[in-house]
Assembly symmetry: C2
Homo-oligomer: 479 residues x 2
Amino acid sequence: MSMSLNGNRNLMEMEYAVRGPIPQKAAKLKEQGREIIFCNIGNPQSLGQLPMSFPRQVLSLIENPTFIRREKELARLSSVSPALPHLDLIESEVIEYAENIISKIGSGTGAYTESRGAKFIREAVAKFIDRRDGPGAPPSDPDSIFLTDGAGQGAQHIIQLLISSPDDAIMIPIPQYPLYSAAIKKFGGTQIGYYPDEENDWALSRTELESAWQNAGKNGKKIKALVVINPGNPTGAVLDEKSINEIIDFAMEKEIAVIADEVYQENIYDGAAPFISFAKALGNRELPLFSLHSVSKGFLGECGHRGAYLELRNPPSLADSSLSFMEVLTKMASVNLCSNTVGQILVYIMTTPPPSGTRTAEIHDSERKGILSDLSKKALMIRDTFTKMDNVKCFGRTGAMYLFPSLNKLPRGTNDFDYCMALLEETGLCTVNGGGFGQKEGTQHLRIAFLPPFEKLQEVLPKWVDFHKRYLGDRKPAS
Amino acid sequence: MSMSLNGNRNLMEMEYAVRGPIPQKAAKLKEQGREIIFCNIGNPQSLGQLPMSFPRQVLSLIENPTFIRREKELARLSSVSPALPHLDLIESEVIEYAENIISKIGSGTGAYTESRGAKFIREAVAKFIDRRDGPGAPPSDPDSIFLTDGAGQGAQHIIQLLISSPDDAIMIPIPQYPLYSAAIKKFGGTQIGYYPDEENDWALSRTELESAWQNAGKNGKKIKALVVINPGNPTGAVLDEKSINEIIDFAMEKEIAVIADEVYQENIYDGAAPFISFAKALGNRELPLFSLHSVSKGFLGECGHRGAYLELRNPPSLADSSLSFMEVLTKMASVNLCSNTVGQILVYIMTTPPPSGTRTAEIHDSERKGILSDLSKKALMIRDTFTKMDNVKCFGRTGAMYLFPSLNKLPRGTNDFDYCMALLEETGLCTVNGGGFGQKEGTQHLRIAFLPPFEKLQEVLPKWVDFHKRYLGDRKPAS
């Protein structure tokens, strides 16, 4: 018997370019022995960024608390015995930090936590948000925070709950991170694109938002929420206060929620505008706001551990339901039992730095600065390379982990997908074409994550310049 | 502005009793200072089961590889210096085991893996399945294995992909683990219950399966798959070969897939029939089979780490799609990027025991036996208590982590929900009523996880016997 059945059409049609055909081709080339530089995804530790010391020491002690006893014994021995000169002992503040987590998490990393995540970690997140945003915004509520397996899980929960019919629509920026288009498709809703102004450093205008709104209305679509990614993915653009308020005003007037993807909030470089959270800009205004943050980006770069949080402010009420928005979300979280405990602990570590004034804090801070400064230098290095390529332009201040240059005047009959495929085959550099994120019709782009080690960039960037010259010059139109 | 909107009706209606009203009430009582024994969920480490030593040592070394250098240095020092007599050194085979994982995972725990999970771990899973099932079944294929954040994620992916319209139905046993009813609801399909025969130790009959099938047909429903949980949750029943073949024959004749939840495959006690996997029983027959397993149960009990796998055999083809079933599943996995790496590594550890003949293997084995024998004794202790209660009967051989006794002749006007609520309030014992899992109309049950420490059971079981007597004797009919 070879069975055939009808599958869920939304899932079959859903696309996710970040792990689409170009990265799949790259994986095949790698299997064949080619050296590939994977710049298709913001996965810093796969490109040589070292894990930070403090978080890993803490995780290690929590997974195996017998090491704590051992560490204390070693400290005692080394104080009485000169036979142990070369042992790097774990600082006592790290041990205390780990012991504090162990005492609060109760049953260790091996037990399910509450569905929403361990309460002490949600409390730490709320404190972090309050510190970050200062006294302007109302305090963050630990009971409005959900810990999730990566920020994508929180985004998907919200989008699924908001979509109650195929005509329910979510506004997303174009270009966007394809998690959003995929989730809208997956849950059977409609995506409505709005277009930040590329040549104006991807700034937003009210006119543009209104035009997307009109467009939806004409097609009988009901917009439920607007997604904004700040700093931007794939553009790297950092929104200024004016753009943020434009979005808030628009959403309040139209009575729609805002989903603010703020996972790159620490990734702002070269003196670009400071990060302003949507929660802070919103202040006391009662707009439903869902904000996402994660341990995968920033300076931690702990992608594999899948730690993230979702914060709700002013959740809407649900028509015809005795349950609140929070209660339904909690039920959704409970079907998955809980997010993974190690990811949860990393969220705690991200939001609760080591005690200041200690040697650990000093090292942690210096590692943090080193990582962010490396990212900044690498971004500049790639941006600078673009100036050596004809018809390549890169707008926007530098944020997130990506550059999103436009590729103009590609040979007739080719597009950015062909370009990225050829770039991969000729140089080993794996990027994602602009089409994978959505782009204004008639434009061509690519997204590159600025994460590879300097020496790899030094090696590959000149090859890219050569490739580009050949691609623009030599290619004959395909038709 | 206080916004109100239409939410996704399926999510609002979805139920999940394992974290439903009774456990929520228990959490409130606990906050008020009451001692609560949480037997509502299979969460062994929250009830005092210690994590096994070997897996945690490995995780600890992988999270912080500087400990590996230190461990080697300590071993060297302790061989030359008598100053270090009391240090429990990590055995060299554990260090080698961890080093092997580090070398294979490449970028450590901090990087995203392939969407389906790291290949070397999927290979280890395939080898484990082949060892478990012996030469009867075709070999397991690492490319047909997906690593997931808990087994529930794999089950949800399959159910979502199988449901293409509200008339698409999935057969589930009644009683069932409410993940299945919740997932079917969540993705807008129809559940069709089939009823194992309680008084015949929950055995299955072809007649019963046929009657569920007829029932679906009459209502215009198209059955796509049948869920079976073996060992059973909530019943603890262990299926014999005859029942398994009955299901396979039925599914082949009807051309539907089988979803085999086998997460309790190590949890079989007191000489009950051996575990027979659906893959083994299936052999070379070409039935679509989806099998689930997890690190949360068995003897590891590592619930919080959310590690699990899904194995596909003979996946169906998808009508009107150029994509294979595997390709769509891979795309679904890719939207979540990957499951958490620590959970993945625990799947590796579960499927790759420490090298035999070593001291580590000896300790690991003795810990494993201790955990399983404790579980068995606790199950017997609770079963024995039921014999002291009037009108309580517990059928089925003892498997999984649960007992599911029937409560007969409850006072008129009360049901098992009332009983469990009262039991909680009077004794602090948190169970889940049979209605939360579904049960034959007119019957009443409860599910209890047999996980609390002996001394807690010794304390609470006599209280339960007293409570039961009062509940059956004293209560007046409510109406």
